[in-house]
Amino acid sequence: MVLLDHGSGGLASSRLVQEIFLSRLSNPILNELEDSAILDIGQQQIAFTTDSYVVDPIFFPGGDIGELAVNGTINDLAMKGGMPVALSLALILEEGFSLDDLERIMDSIARASIQAGVPVATGDTKVVPKGKADKIFINTAGVGIIEIRFPLTASRIRPGDKILVSGTVGDHGATIMTRRQGLEVPGQFQSDTMALHRLVRDMLELSGENIRCFRDPTRGGLATTLVELAKKAGVTMEIAETEIPVRKDVAQTCEILGLDPLYLANEGKLVAVVAPDVADELLALMQESHLAPEPAIIGRVVEQGIMPVVMETAIGGKRAVEMLTGEPLPRIC
């Protein structure tokens, strides 16, 4: 039986993918399980990806489901070095869904698409009877052109490499968690949804193949992303809690709800693992960019130890960081 756990982006999800999907669909392109598939078409390399958006609530501070659907798919292309060319847009609408809301979402899709310079090139609409879907579900797919001549993959990570994050973590997840529960919490934080392809382009232009790989820490948050990367690369990552940027109001909200910002989703942030020599120049570039609010070097790569990710805590202690398991749950007392 499918449980909500299976969609959380953590261990249960990866098991579903391995045991039910890959066992049947296995092929060299899919097996990579990266943010985008890499296709060789003639002389050209293409990045190709798809993603469905079912966020609840559909409108939230900082964005809505439409903007998310544009930016999320662009980011999946960008993480593999794909400069987005076009998107598809497929809507599943619940009977009775308000046309005003639909227009509002389409306006924001149009805005996000123009802002990113990536047109919607094809689309589809289905309507299902009331109760058979929740208001609106969106699927977008995207294609992007890869100009670089090296792969952005975890396998290129080496001991000594530095780990960068482009800004404060947990903003989107904290926004959705509090809105979903209808909670009044302190602070002004909002979703960070943002298209990152131009930031990726600038970083690649500056440091080329000294950049080992990019990831966008969406579901499962920064923690899950780092554990996945470290496992794939066969290394250990050492990060410092004090270096990880977290908004104060997000940290406070997490404190109240018993959540950990390291496990909350981001929709406008990237993690880059880079050669040690270029970490500072990339940090400087990000500091100048409006696409990277509050970037930081959060740690380094070392030889493989027993745990994939180890964190020095703010007070100087040490602990492991594990992947997300189960839904992020509120605390009890």
Binding site: M1, V2, L3, L4, D5, G10, L11, A12, R15, T168, Q181, L183, G187, Q188, F189, Q190, E241, T242, E243, I244, P245, V246, R247, K248, D249, V250, A251, Q252, L257, G258, P293, E294, A296, I306, M307, V310, M311, E312, T313, A314, I315, G316, G317, K318, R319, A320, E322, T325, G326, E327, L329, P330, R331, I332, C333
Partner: protein, 379 residues
């Protein structure tokens, strides 16, 4: 545009430095105090509260403390001590047609004695909702007047007063479709059971800060008098926990144990009389079955006659059958401090947060979850 300038919590060098310095100073004092205790044996201290356990692991404190000090998790994780029979009963409740079960999130994935859980019941179609407060559950009942809503009352003296206040509200507003299944437990009698039942080599207790904020200092007195235990009521920040450990060592060195309130900013000697009054008005002491500790008279909270119309146990005729044995699971020995999680043969093998065999691996305050998540034995 949000203002990020004053929004960054971590990465504030001055604050982090100050905390580190404070922690260093406390650790130095702990080392010195330990040197003054001549016996070479390990000093076993129990953190009673699950929130302490989590905080200890989250801050990596075990690595900073001297090897001679052993911190053991106690019975203070409310989900973990809920008896298997009560878990089964809660899952059974969710099968009642048209009933909405409202619960704190931690209960969702706790396995019942047959491997079932509220999460699985929800996937099958049961209406199980996560709430952050019993007041939310009451609202749910008011929003759904044609359905019954049952809140699972799990928790100690910290949670129970809020549930009591909610029951009073439900009664005043005549929200007759609102029910509470009270699995609440109270701490002092459980500690009595823990330390009276067998030889325990625990020498000191970090007493739960939140519970103490309600019940005050006095209820721990018997632990000092009867069992000679050092007691420190302790807050939840790393510095506060170290302060509590330091107090326990000082008490052990001087051989004069007492109840030291190291959390005076939240805990007053007499506790919170109005919360205690609300508790007493709505609940009466009852016998409760604890996982690991068994049946303990006076350690449960049953809903009083005046509020019986909201009591799920009588309204839905809940019958609790304690299963003879929950196979393989050693949560009961972990809760009582007899073993630590890596000593359980299922830990990290058959039992993981994804596929938990017992509550200690599920609860966000469970010892096994803490050891698993923060790599306790692997660093």
């Amino acid at each position: 545009m949000m203002n990020l300038q004053d929004g960054i919590a971590s990465g504030q060098p001055a604050d982090a430095r100050r905390r580190r310095d404070l922690v260093k100073a406390l650790l130095l004092s702990i080392h010195r105090q330990l040197a003054s205790i001549s016996s070479p044996q390990k000093i076993r201290l129990m953190e009673v509260c699950g929130t302490h356990t989590m905080s200890i692991f989250k801050h990596g404190l075990r690595h900073l403390l001297p090897d001679r000090i052993e911190l053991i998790s106690g019975p203070g994780c409310p989900v973990c001590v809920t008896s298997p029979g009560q878990i089964d009963a809660a899952i059974k409740l969710s099968d009642i047609p048209d009933l909405i079960v409202a619960t704190f999130g931690d209960m969702l994935r706790v396995p019942g004695s047959q491997g079932q859980s509220l999460a699985k019941a929800r996937a099958r179609g049961a209406d199980v909702r996560i709430v952050y407060s019993p007041v939310d559950a009451l609202q749910l009942a008011r929003d759904n007047p044609d359905r019954n809503v049952c809140f699972l009352g799990i928790g100690f003296e910290t949670t129970a007063p809020v549930v009591a206040a909610t029951l009073k509200m439900a009664s005043q507003l005549s929200v007759n479709n609102f029910f509470v299944y009270s699995c609440h437990k109270t701490m002092p009698n459980a500690l009595e059971a823990l330390f009276s039942s067998k030889e325990s080599d625990v020498q000191g207790l970090l007493c739960p800060g939140h519970v103490s904020a309600i019940i005050g200092e006095q209820p721990y007195g018997f632990l000092v008098e009867k069992y000679g235990l050092a007691c420190a009521i302790t807050g939840f920040e790393a510095e506060e926990i170290l302060l509590g450990v330091l107090s326990l060592l000082k008490q052990l060195a001087s051989k004069y144990p007492f109840v030291d309130n190291c959390y005076p900013r939240a805990v007053s000697p007499e506790g919170n009389p109005s919360a205690v009054a609300a508790l007493e008005q709505v609940f009466q002491p009852s016998t409760a079955v604890w996982r690991g500790l068994g049946s303990i008279p006076g350690s449960g909270l049953a809903i009083r006659q005046q509020f019986k119309r909201h009591d799920a146990e009588s309204h839905f005729g809940i019958e609790i059958e304690e299963p003879n044995k929950v196979s393989g699971c050693r949560c009961h020995r972990i809760i009582t401090g007899q073993i630590i999680p890596p000593e359980c043969p299922m830990f990290r093998k058959a039992c993981t947060p994804e596929n938990p065999m017992g509550p200690c691996m599920v609860s966000s305050e469970g010892a096994c979850a803490a050891w698993f998540k923060y790599g306790g034995e692997r660093l």
